[in-house]
């Protein structure tokens, strides 16, 4: 497990390229709202894979909770929304954020749109791509944070010959097979980039601050 985490970190570092350090975005709206809790609602799906929103949903809780926020139980939230007649991400994202926040007594709502979730095949290798738009809106309806993240994996691009790159390639290769591409590692990396590692990472929440 520890090793896997380290690998994930290394992969993230390699993917960011280590070199560029783009200017930090303004997070004052987030800081001003100082949210304690986040409601993650089902995603809008622009990909062709109907399962993508559910699979994505299962990856969002842990990074945000480990960031120090109370994350409303995603499957319970999905169930409650269904009870209210909301089944699709499109429908849910059209509701006023204030109404959703009030229904759950949440400080913020996280909206994710799946732009890409696909595998393109060439001879023996597949290029797997995920791309997400993330947006957090406060209970007063103010957008307090947003990010876009794309992650792509294609085996032929990773033959750099360096032992580290080969190690990472081997680890990811195991997860990405021609028969059934596994989007989860890429999705987890995308989440890790936007919430934790990236220049626009979400500031620490109250429980992380408390733990310091």
């Amino acid at each position: 497990m520890k090793f896997a985490k380290l690998l994930l970190c290394l992969v993230a570092v390699v993917l960011t390229g280590c070199a560029s350090a783009p200017a930090k975005k303004d997070l004052s709206a987030f800081t001003a709202a100082a949210p304690r809790s986040i409601l993650v609602v089902p995603a809008v799906n622009k990909s062709l894979d109907v399962d993508a929103p559910n699979y994505l949903l299962s990856t969002l809780t842990i990074p945000l909770a480990e960031k120090g926020f109370y994350v409303f139980p995603v499957n319970t939230a999905k169930f409650i929304l269904e009870q209210e007649g909301f089944y699709e991400g499109e429908q849910i994202h059209k509701q006023p954020p204030e109404v959703l926040a009030k229904l759950f007594d949440a400080d913020t709502v996280l909206y994710v749109t799946i732009n890409r979730w696909d595998a393109q095949y060439a001879f023996i290798a597949a290029t797997v791509t995920v791309e997400f738009d993330y947006r957090m809106v406060s209970r007063d309806g103010v957008e307090i944070w947003k990010a876009t993240q794309k992650m792509q994996y294609s085996p032929q691009n990773n033959n750099s010959g360096s032992p580290l790159a080969m190690l990472i390639t081997a680890a990811i290769n195991a997860a990405v097979t021609r028969a059934a591409p596994n989007y989860l590692p890429l999705t987890q990396q995308a989440n890790q980039m936007v919430f934790v590692l990236g220049p626009n990472a979400v500031p620490d929440g109250p429980y992380r601050i408390l733990a310091k």
Partner: protein, 121 residues
């Protein structure tokens, strides 16, 4: 420039290493994923959550946010209102941010339990 990138890299790597997880999740994300992939696996999710929560309580560790409530919702979907209320109550008591929602859920369940027993009598 090289120094800057080396520094950035070091910060990234150490930043990553210095963030130990705050909670134990007992495989929650993987089990939830499996239950979405194959709805029959919700039984495994329930069993996994039950044993993880029992283990956490036994060793007096804090149960990660949402886990009590997720288990409660599975009980509710299986028609076991009493167990659902017990889990929602635990979630509420462990996480003050969940109070509004958990109280609402508990109230709704109690109401429907009340109306059911009225029909019976």
């Amino acid at each position: 420039m090289k120094l800057v990138s080396l520094l950035a890299c070091t910060i990234l790597v150490t930043g990553c290493a210095n963030r130990p997880s705050m909670y134990q999740w007992g495989g929650y994300d993987a089990m939830l994923y499996q239950s979405y992939k194959n709805p029959e696996k919700v039984i495994a999710l329930r069993a996994g959550l039950e044993s993880h929560i029992a283990q956490m309580e036994l060793s007096k560790q804090k149960v990660a946010p949402g886990l009590y409530a997720e288990l409660g919702t599975i009980y509710l979907q299986e028609g076991d209102s009493t167990k659902a209320v017990a889990m929602y109550t635990k979630e509420r008591d462990a996480w003050p941010e969940s109070r509004g929602l958990m109280d609402g859920l508990i109230k709704n369940i109690s109401k429907s339990m009340g109306s059911k027993s009225e029909i019976k009598s």
